[in-house]
């Protein structure tokens, strides 16, 4: 069982810290949301987990291993799968190539065919588009490729950065339904969303980030009832 822990993590770009003293825990199999407005530092938290941004202070611990300066690719191989902001697909490669590119190592390579079959069962629409270039797909389909690609790496924790952004509500609910299926099968989830209501309904526990700091945390139904969250993020009377 693998747990992810952030202990007093600070990180940023240039001279300024974007996030400060972040403490966060994702237990094995737990579904956790990180919510907050645009610019609160949510994506920076994601990047300190997957290694795209180095931590300046504090520790990121995965299982019994401190990630420290571990390379991005090694974190993926260690079981942290990311669906990044902006998806970062390989636009000139086909859908299948995008998926295969995420299974060029170890167990992922060994179980490649099985992984492809699983992704195509989860997203039948992608199977129809298997030979199509990823850059020509709709936004929703691209998001499915991005999730599929992360699954091909055989993650134990799936980190999703703004998966609903720019997508039609029908596509969003389709994607969240599939995330539900995945977590019921035991996958841990870190969901980063601006859509606060949607994310709180999909997780067990949540952290609210404001200006780079965790200002509130708790079980998601508690947060849904919190006057602060209701007023500031749900547009409801406190």
């Amino acid at each position: 069982m693998t747990r992810l822990t952030l202990e007093r993590v600070s990180a940023g770009y240039g001279k300024a810290d974007v996030i400060r003293d972040i403490d966060l825990v994702i237990e094995s199999g737990q579904r956790v949301a990180l919510i907050g407005s645009n610019g609160a530092g949510k994506s920076t938290v994601v990047k300190t987990i997957n290694g795209l941004v180095p931590t300046r202070q504090g520790r990121v611990v995965w299982g019994d291993e401190e990630l420290g300066r571990m390379k991005v690719s090694d974190r993926t191989r260690a079981g942290i799968g990311t669906v990044p902001e902006g998806r970062l697909l390989f636009p000139d490669c086909t859908v299948t190539e995008n998926l295969v590119a995420a299974s060029t190592f170890g167990a992922a390579k060994q179980h490649r065919e099985e992984g492809l079959a699983r992704v195509y069962d989860l997203f039948p629409r992608l199977r129809e588009r298997a030979g199509q270039r990823a850059g020509t797909l709709s936004g929703g389909e691209q998001q499915m490729v991005a999730i599929g690609r992360a699954l091909m790496t055989r993650p134990r924790l799936l980190v999703l950065d703004e998966p609903s952004i720019g997508l039609a509500p029908r596509v969003v609910s389709e994607i969240f339904e599939i995330l539900g299926t995945l977590t019921r099968a035991g996958l841990s989830l870190l969901l980063v969303e601006q859509n606060v209501q949607l994310s709180l309904r999909s997780v067990d526990y949540a952290y609210l980030l404001q200006q780079g700091e965790v200002v509130l945390q708790g079980p998601s139904d508690t947060l849904l009832e919190s006057p602060m969250v209701r007023a500031a993020y749900l547009g409801l009377p406190a």
Partner: protein, 293 residues
Amino acid sequence: MSATILLQALLSGMTNGAIYALIAVGLTLVFGVMRVVNFAHGEFLMLAMYGGYLAWAHLGLDPIIAVVLVVPALLALGVGLFETLIRPAMRVPEINQMAVTLGLSLLLQYLALMVFKADNLLIVQDRSTASLWIGPVLLQMPQAIAALAAVLLLIGLYIVLRKTDFGLIMRAVSQSRDGAALSGIDIGRTYRWAMGIGIGTLGVAGPLMASVLYVNPHIGALFTLKAFVIVIVGGMGSFGGVLLGALLVGVAESVAGVLTTASVAAAVPFALLILVMLLRPEGLMPVGGGSRA
């Protein structure tokens, strides 16, 4: 002017084009995967030509055999270049990277001048004066061999890029570096191999070209320029673009040589470059149909 002469010019142009493609493909691979502009590319060709010449002059090796020795040497030079100069240079702004590779280009030219002197050297064998008749037109044997090797290597490279995991990794990194890293692809290792292969391909071209063209310490600079014209005309980082660009440059040069004078013909590739930049600045076959995500 007769049709035969034009046909002859077309054939020579295509032959040269194939050889140019072989030289430019390594440049475009390095640029496409690493976004590094290697101004010293031609100097590695120069070294490979000397490698072929020395193997012939001192060991009596046929240039075709010398390829087997020169390719691993160039591959090792490519990896060495990456580990010593390029890896640190990738953390600095692009303009500084260019200064690094430009400096390396000059350094290699003058080191070659010290070691090999300024003499023009050429591999001369029995087959050097032989020629191959193809219908009414003829091809010099050394040129035909170099072009054939180029075509074979380009086909091989295409298959590797399209059909293997290794090729997919190269393409993935060239299209989204962070996306590739998040897919578990080791970026540093990919860069090392891209540079190794990008320069290693010159190990095929060099020895074979040393029996077509005189080698001297400054021969590389000419090919760096031509390779850049080809890569920019074709579309930076695109494999198909290199083939198209190289054939265009080769044929344009050679046909212009027949129609006008040699000095005008030498300017034709650059005129072609200016024309393409004006009409289609993204190149003829850009990666991703003109947009890049």
